[in-house]
């Protein structure tokens, strides 16, 4: 069953978030009011979107450090298009954002697939290149709120059934990619490639090509998030979302995605992102300086990776009959 495959790790993390919310609620019941929780979710949506893409990349034993730079570059490009041609409809902007993000992801993917360059080197390089390109395009200037058109800014905030479009985008992505990861050949190929690349080759899966698709998906989601981010915060400049790639990796690790590949789920990435989102939003409420956030998420990463490693510890070969029955 799919359930048995996603294991109880997600349940554990879900419980941790629930306990966290419960503790906060004892002193600040306002925090767990549905409207506030919806705000927290909306605020976490960009992280969720990127974590989904990153989770797929990590699943294939790669890493994408360029997501935040991709987001910033795409965001700047659509913001500048909006300034230059305010009449371009949001639908076209969305297509451009996803298209450009996809293209940037494909560049990463091609370098990994065709030239076999270690993903960490590729994305470290493209990350600095993308940021540099933003500077070249914008000449270091900001695109400010008053320069953007009203429709451009309104899209992520538009409400539908009580939730903003930004939240709905994250929800939709979670649903779509849950189906992709559990019910399609490509989705299962991501698991196979990261779990055992050698065996994947024997079962007719092209390892490099599968990794290429992972980077492409990660890029597409980063591009989409680029537009949503820039329009929601109504500002674009070189350094937006600087360092955000590490939050994204952190969300995955907390969500139980194994950096060694082959282990992880969309649900885990979602919960990992929500965990960080709840902490970030709760700190000001419980009167802790927001400066604590970095240290807390750092500790969360270390604890999560230690807990997951314990659960996945190699048991060795099972030779004794008694051991097989016990398993």
């Amino acid at each position: 069953m799919i359930k048995s495959l996603t294991t109880s790790r997600e349940v554990l993390l879900f419980a941790a978030i629930a306990v966290l919310l419960g503790l906060i609620a004892t002193r600040f019941p306002g925090f767990v009011a549905p409207s506030n929780l919806a705000d927290v979710f909306n605020d976490t949506s960009p992280l969720i979107l990127l974590a989904i893409g990153q989770m797929i990349v990590i699943l294939t034993k790669c890493i994408d450090l360029s997501v935040a730079a991709n987001l910033a570059l795409t965001g700047m490009v659509v913001a500048m298009i909006n300034v230059a041609m305010p009449g371009v409809p949001v639908a076209v902007i969305l297509v451009i954002a996803v298209g450009l993000g996809t293209l940037l992801g494909m560049i990463n993917g091609l370098l990994v697939w065709k030239l076999d360059i270690p993903p960490i080197v590729v994305t470290l390089g493209t990350m600095t290149i993308f940021r540099g390109i933003i500077f070249l395009l914008s000449d270091g200037k900001w695109v400010n709120s008053h320069e953007m058109s009203a429709t451009f800014k309104a899209f992520p905030r538009a409400e539908f059934l009580g939730l903003p479009v930004l939240s709905w985008t994250a929800i939709l992505a979670v649903i779509v990619f849950t189906i992709v990861m559990t019910r399609t050949t490509l989705g299962r190929a991501f698991y196979a490639v990261g779990g055992n690349a050698h065996a994947a080759t024997y079962t007719g899966i092209n390892v490099g090509k599968t990794q290429f698709w992972a980077f492409t998906i990660s890029g597409a989601l980063a591009g989409l998030t680029g537009y949503l981010w820039v329009s929601r915060y109504a500002v674009a400049y070189v350094d937006i979302a600087s360092g955000f790639e590490l939050d994204v990796v952190a969300a995955c690790v907390i969500g139980g995605v194994s950096i060694a590949g082959g282990l992880g789920s969309i649900g885990g990435a979602l919960l990992g992102a929500l965990f960080l989102g709840v902490i970030k939003n709760a700190l000001p409420v419980i009167n802790i300086s927001p400066f604590w956030q970095l240290a807390i998420s750092g500790s969360a990463i270390i604890i999560a990776v230690a807990v997951n490693a314990r659960a996945n510890r190699e048991k060795g070969r099972i030779i004794l009959k008694s051991a097989e029955q016990a398993a």
Binding site: T128, F135, L136, L294, G298
Partner: protein
């Protein structure tokens, strides 16, 4: 069955022959080319004081890069180095507030670096966690502690004799930092290329299982490497804090990636197993010269990052493209 000597020669190539064909030789040519191009591009380039100033662009990062090179050759990585600088600098700032003098500040800086390195080392070698994740975590944790302590404030008021480490000159245009960089380079050259320890670093990086099965204490070696990396970050923190004269929690932000770039550009295989200290030294000069040259031409720093990013991918991609093209 002791047969008569079947005469296997020790080597087929002399060490110098293989050195000439190496990555380091190619990189040295690049460095010389950049140097010549720079001296044509700007009249201010060939000025001893300007050149001396330019070394500050890379000396602190290169100190860390030497230890990082050993760590990467052994198959691990430490992304928390910049955060260790922040924490060590914060600790020194706090010590100043408590009235500590320069000798104590040095001990605090080095001690913080060693402690952070030990923390990473324990998590990786004792608990068997992947270093890339662990150090992404400690990167947030160490810098996070700096933010908790400092918030949006800064520590200032370092003693005047403390300024020597980042601003002092030993002789004419030769800065203290540059001398320190050279000494550390020699020490790491000896450690990696001339000792048993260095040999085991290569063995572990090439095949950790094989090294373990050959009786090498793999975890002990790796732990020492994390300690050394922490120590180097501590030394860099002393130099940088002394040079800036202040500590903010955002100090040295993003340096971890610049250090890794320097190491990879120096020909160290990011997957472990190969690389040399001379390569890293030349890479440090290449990055320093490019930064300095573009700066003289008034090119902003961020555009510089495009060049460095392209260099990073290009130096690995081009040889592979070349060999793929030749196979056709």
């Amino acid at each position: 069955m002791t047969t008569p000597a079947n005469a296997i020669p020790d080597r087929l190539q002399t060490p110098w022959e293989s050195r000439l064909k190496s990555w380091e030789a190619l990189l040295l040519l690049v460095a010389i080319a950049i140097f010549i191009a720079n001296s044509f591009a700007s009249p201010y380039f060939l000025n001893a004081w300007n050149l001396s100033d330019a070394t500050f662009n890379f000396t602190e990062k290169a100190m860390i890069a030497f230890a990082m090179a050993l760590l990467i050759i052994s198959g691990e990585i430490d992304l928390s180095v910049a955060a260790i600088i922040a924490l060590a600098s914060t600790a020194m700032g706090a010590a100043v507030q408590a009235g500590a003098g320069t000798p104590v500040l040095i001990l605090v800086g080095l001690g913080t670096g060693l402690l952070c390195g030990a923390f990473n080392g324990v998590l990786v070698t004792r608990m068997g966690l992947p270093s890339i994740v662990v150090t992404i975590g400690t990167m947030s944790l160490f810098r996070g502690i700096s933010y908790i302590v400092l918030g949006d404030q800064a520590y200032r008021g370092y003693p005047s004799d403390f300024a020597f480490f980042g601003q002092g000159y030993v002789w004419w245009v030769i800065s203290f930092e540059f001398v320190l960089f050279a000494i550390i380079a020699v020490i790491y050259f000896v450690i990696l290329h001339k000792t048993n320890f260095g040999r085991s670093v290569y063995a572990i990086g090439n095949n950790p299982t094989g090294a373990l099965f050959s009786g090498i204490r793999v975890n002990r070696v790796k732990f020492i490497l994390f300690l050394l990396t922490g120590l180097m970050a501590g030394i860099a923190a002393i130099c940088l804090t002394s040079r800036l004269g202040s500590t903010r929690p955002s100090i040295a932000f993003g340096w971890e990636l610049e250090v890794v770039t320097m190491v990879v550009l120096g020909g160290v295989n990011i997957l472990g197993g190969s690389g040399t200290i001379p390569g890293v030294v030349i890479a440090a000069f290449v990055i320093g010269l490019v930064t300095f040259g573009l700066g003289l031409l008034n090119v902003p720093g961020i555009v510089m990052s495009i060049v460095v990013g392209a260099l990073l991918i290009g130096v690995i991609a081009l040889p592979r493209l070349w060999s793929q093209w030749r196979q056709r």
